[in-house]
């Protein structure tokens, strides 16, 4: 009985950093921790260290707006995210931790014929792959979201939407903590405040890393460093087609349940959901210039609020509570870069832009399989870094620029 009130640690405190591991994972975000979890759980590879330069979940994993969906535009992308969504549906049970996954549905608004065409293309790709996704028109939108302004007097009247019923939001910190706890229980070591400052190679093959806590040998090194990917891969001599930008979000003060569907408008550069705490959560596009400085800006709140009020005029009296920023690693085709590099046994998960949180379970599963079997899983083959040298891009622009 007294155990009920005892404060329990989610995972063991950081141990002494050993001089050798089978696998070193750089980055303690959702991708790094998920990869560690599946290495231990599925493949019994437990001699693994996750090295994180700050606290666990300090990167985009702890700052994102938690949208999970599979309604992408390319068959390669849709297939990949569909599998991740499926894994998310079972993840609370898998990790024995309530992730508060709410599959409330996702509406991508169309404000023009062009918008309707894009929505139709996506719906057709999705339906061919068995993803629940279809076009809806204002009469049905009114039923799905009675609060939204469907007036024809709006600046950009709503003419339809792509509706994706299984899309949802989740408690992002819980995903990070659940994976960290699961990895720890599987025997993985988690090392916060351990920064990788060098990556050692010999004969084109990775041999270990240098850190602020000493050198570590490893057979395999995986970079899961999102916004910092260029800097970390640089240490291994691997150039990336990535630019780093900030993405911002803000929440209002909590209000009564008001919105139970995610609203995205690419035309108006804004997306909106209501969190379990009642806050209205609002996000937009990346800032156009590259930067590593995670500072919030006022123009972002100003234009996002203005566009939100066009869609939901009744939010006018609601106050903004706080805003924040995270780093994002943009790839030229809005698709990820996943798997092997030209340095043997140095693998990468990057190019996640503004949409990588939803991919954590499938990234972890496939990277763990790559390490265990030495073969690239079919699902991630289209996302190899090599595609930028052979010019075989996978353009997700239509489904990933404002929709995260």
């Amino acid at each position: 009985m007294k155990d009920v009130f005892r404060v329990q640690r989610m995972w063991r405190p950081r141990a002494k950093l050993r001089r050798r591991y089978d696998v070193v994972i750089v980055g303690g975000g959702a991708h790094g921790l998920a990869t560690a979890y599946y290495l231990a759980k599925t493949h019994g590879i437990t001699d693994v260290a996750v090295l994180e330069k700050s606290y666990i979940g300090s990167g985009a994993a702890g700052r994102n707006t938690t949208i999970i969906r599979a309604n992408y535009r390319t068959p390669q992308g849709a297939e990949f995210y569909k599998e991740s969504l499926r894994l998310y549906e079972g993840l609370s049970v898998e990790l024995d931790f309530n992730l508060l996954f709410s599959q409330q549905g996702h509406l991508t608004l169309a404000h023009s014929d062009r918008g309707l065409i894009t929505a139709t293309e996506r719906a057709e790709v999705n339906q061919l792959l068995g993803i629940d996704s279809r076009l809806v028109y204002p009469d049905e939108i009114a039923g799905l979201c009675p609060e939204i302004n469907l007036s024809q007097d709006a600046t950009w009247p709503i003419v339809g939407a792509l509706y994706h019923p299984p899309g949802g939001i989740i408690r992002h910190d819980a995903v990070v903590w659940g994976y960290a706890r699961g990895a720890d229980r599987g025997g993985v070591e988690i090392h916060p405040y351990t920064e990788v400052t060098g990556i050692e190679r010999s004969n084109g093959r990775v041999t270990g890393v240098r850190t602020n806590r000493g050198e570590v040998e490893a057979d395999v090194v995986i970079s899961c460093t999102a916004g910092w990917s260029t800097l970390v891969c640089d240490l291994a001599g691997v150039p990336l087609p990535i630019t780093t930008h900030i993405l911002q979000a803000f929440v209002t003060e909590p209000i009564k349940p008001f919105l139970d569907v995610i609203i995205v408008s690419s035309q108006m550069h804004v997306y909106i959901s209501q969190t379990d705490r009642g806050e209205i959560l609002i996000g937009a596009e990346i800032e156009p210039y590259t930067t590593y400085k995670g500072q919030s800006t006022f123009p972002f709140v100003e234009y996002s609020a203005r566009h939100t009020l066009e869609l939901f005029p009744q939010l006018e009296p609601v106050k903004v509570l706080r805003q924040w920023t995270g780093l994002c690693d943009l790839s030229p085709d809005y698709s990820p870069i996943l798997g092997e590099t030209e340095v043997e046994n140095f693998h990468v998960s990057a190019g996640w832009g503004t949409y990588g949180f939803k991919a954590a379970p499938i990234v972890g599963t496939t990277l763990a399989e790559l390490v265990a079997t030495g073969r690239t899983p079919k699902l991630i083959a289209p996302f190899a870094l090599e595609r930028f040298y052979t010019d075989t891009l996978v353009s997700e622009l239509a489904a990933a620029a404002v929709s995260h």
Binding site: T74, T230, L231, P239, L240, P241, I242, T243, T244, E287, P288, Y289, T290, T291, Y292, K293, Q295, T297, F298, P299, P332, D333, F388, Y389, T390, D391, T392, L393, V394, S395
Partner: protein
């Protein structure tokens, strides 16, 4: 406001008046290989530090200019108008490599 950028013509202005046009890259020379061409098209230094980059003053004088900015702090160290580049050294049409099938582009 995010930060100020001194336009060489108009002086310090809100960064939102400008369009960011990417880091300054080195053009490949005549007859690049596909690897050279794709490196030029897609790969970026993306430094955390001082970066030389292009800007366009879209809501002002409409000039293109270069800036040196520290991407860790967004401090702008210098801006300048550049000389027009001669066409010499730029790849001619015969140098365009076959890109192969690419249904997704």
């Amino acid at each position: 406001m995010s930060f100020l950028l001194p336009c060489p013509n108009c002086g310090p202005r809100d960064v939102n008046e400008f369009a960011y046009q990417g880091e300054v890259t080195k053009r490949p020379t005549q007859s690049p290989t596909l690897r050279e061409l794709s490196s030029y098209l897609y790969f970026r230094e993306n430094v955390a530090g001082v970066q030389r980059e292009w800007w366009y003053h879209r809501l002002g004088c409409q000039a293109w200019f270069q800036a040196e900015r520290d991407t860790r702090t967004n401090e702008v160290l210098a801006t300048e108008l550049t000389e027009p580049v001669s066409a010499e050294g730029a790849p001619g049409p015969e140098a365009t490599p076959a890109l192969g099938e690419n249904p997704t582009l």
